[in-house]
């Protein structure tokens, strides 16, 4: 984050302003990515009028950065009408899309409307790998064509590469492709559980050895020794810090009007169909509960070696059952980075060890002859 943006974020935090909102316009999608956390049916999306009204409420509440995402945003027939309204309200608009429906005409319109950036999911530079993840033959070609259309208009494009076991060996190829196309590239090894709590998608994520390999790639992390160093003891200010921006300067709104602290934090705080956005933001008990949590309140994490530079996601922790608890995926990342297990990993190991109790073998007939698991 730039210095000025940090200053602005600090001011927004002090004034309780939701600087940054992700609004999902739909959960419908024209791809079926194997790791996707969404159910793609339409359960009653907000209408055009409802979304326009919400945008006005969000502008009045001080929202500046608006990320429009989904699902696939271009499946909404009113997408450009919504975008036009958002830009009329002078939001800094970022888009997240698979770009399959972006051709020359759409790219030109996006430029005309002053979109800040377009983030496009690319899983591999090889069609057989990318298309096997999206489950749509020809999808890589369509997305890459779209990137070229957007670039030819001069728009800022970011390739988002979610790293999984299936495409682990391709991230260098994706980065080379990004360089060739003249676009930015981000890499994220986080796979999220489904919004209904189903955790089966997590099996698709990279394993500990693969994470270790990624974190020791200097082309990704810069100074490997510095990146993988064991963090210093946390100071008072680190323990008083807020865990992340979710609920503090950022939140998420679903296509059905539900407001959550973050797209990865499905803790219901209100619904803009029944309440004003600003009232949910300022007065929801749930939002205020999230807001009240400081690093020092995280029972297991406070005593952890990694607490001062952990990437702990409170949303993932919530989906594990406790928003004040650890997020195991981030424990795995800290471990892969430093080789030091987290407090959560050590506690789990102790519990597992306690579950195995070997009883003494009795010499008397009929007695158990082996250990038993209590």
């Amino acid at each position: 984050m730039s210095g000025l943006l940090e200053e602005v974020a600090a001011k927004a935090l002090r004034l309780n302003v939701p600087l940054n909102v992700q609004l999902d316009l739909t959960y419908r999608c024209n791809e079926r990515c194997v790791h996707c956390y969404l159910d793609h049916d339409d359960h009653g999306e907000m209408t055009t009028a409802e979304i326009k009204h919400l945008l006005e409420e969000m502008a009045d509440a001080g929202v500046f950065i608006l990320t429009l995402s989904g699902g696939e945003i271009f499946l909404r027939k009113d997408f450009f009408e919504i975008l036009e309204h958002a830009r009329r309200l002078m939001f800094c608009v970022k888009l997240k899309t698979n770009a399959v429906l972006i051709r020359e005409q759409e790219a030109a319109r996006l430029l005309d409307l002053g979109v800040e950036s377009v983030q496009i999911s690319i899983y591999s530079h090889r069609p057989q790998v990318h298309d096997a993840i999206t489950l749509v033959p020809g999808s890589l070609k369509r997305s890459l064509d779209a990137i070229r259309f957007l670039k030819s208009q001069g728009l800022k494009v970011i390739i988002a590469n979610v790293l999984m076991t299936e495409n682990m060996s391709d991230y260098t190829g994706v980065r080379a492709l990004a360089t060739e196309l003249g676009v930015e590239c981000t890499l994220d090894p986080t796979v999220t559980p489904m919004m209904d709590g189903n955790r089966s998608t997590l099996n698709l994520g990279v394993d500990q050895n693969q994470l270790r390999q990624v974190f020791r790639d200097a082309s990704l992390v810069g100074d490997v020794d510095e990146f993988c160093a064991i963090p210093a003891e946390p100071g008072e200010s680190e323990l008083e810090a807020t865990p992340c921006s979710a609920g503090h300067t950022a939140c998420y709104v679903s296509p059905y009007g539900e407001v959550f602290p973050c797209v990865q934090f499905p803790f219901p705080t209100g619904n803009v169909r029944r309440q004003r956005f600003v009232d949910i933001w300022r007065h929801s008990d749930q939002m205020n509960e999230v807001r009240s949590i400081r690093v020092k309140d995280l029972a297991t994490c406070t005593s952890c070696t990694h607490v001062s530079n952990c990437t702990r996601c409170p949303g993932l922790a919530y989906m594990e059952g406790n928003m004040r608890g650890p997020s195991s995926q981030d424990c795995e990342k800290s471990f892969a980075r430093t080789g030091v297990p987290s407090a959560n990993m050590l506690a789990k190991k102790r519990v597992a060890a306690n579950l195995v109790q070997i009883r003494a073998i009795s010499a008397s007939p009929g007695a158990p002859v082996s250990g038993a698991i209590a």
Partner: protein, 105 residues
């Protein structure tokens, strides 16, 4: 003296935070923050009110400044904002581009 007209560039993103504008350039996503005086100039830049009218009606009325000096400062500021493509500046009234008409909050 030639009149100057200023209009918000509809390609930028902008929002008021505690009375001061945050503005993100449409050219290169650079973030700017404007102080209270520059914010008044930005909010008044409708393309058809001249700079001297903005200074007289919005700036001199709010700050105890001498009008000629205030106009000179405002013109310097307007030209600087124009160099970052935040404002458009012209000697003729500027028609705001539609459909994005630069509504500012």
């Amino acid at each position: 003296m030639t009149k100057l007209y200023v209009a918000r560039n509809p390609r930028v993103a902008a929002r008021s935070l505690d009375g001061e504008m945050m503005i993100m350039s449409g050219r290169d996503s650079t973030l700017f923050t404007l102080n209270k005086t520059a914010t008044i100039l930005w909010q008044s830049a409708d393309g058809h009110t001249s700079l001297d009218e903005i200074v007289e009606q919005r700036i001199c009325s709010e700050f105890a400044v001498e009008p000629a000096m205030a106009l000179q400062d405002a013109e310097t500021l307007a030209r600087e904002l124009a160099s970052h493509e935040i404002l458009n500046i012209s000697e003729q009234p500027i028609a705001q581009k539609t459909p994005v008409d630069g509504e500012s909050r």
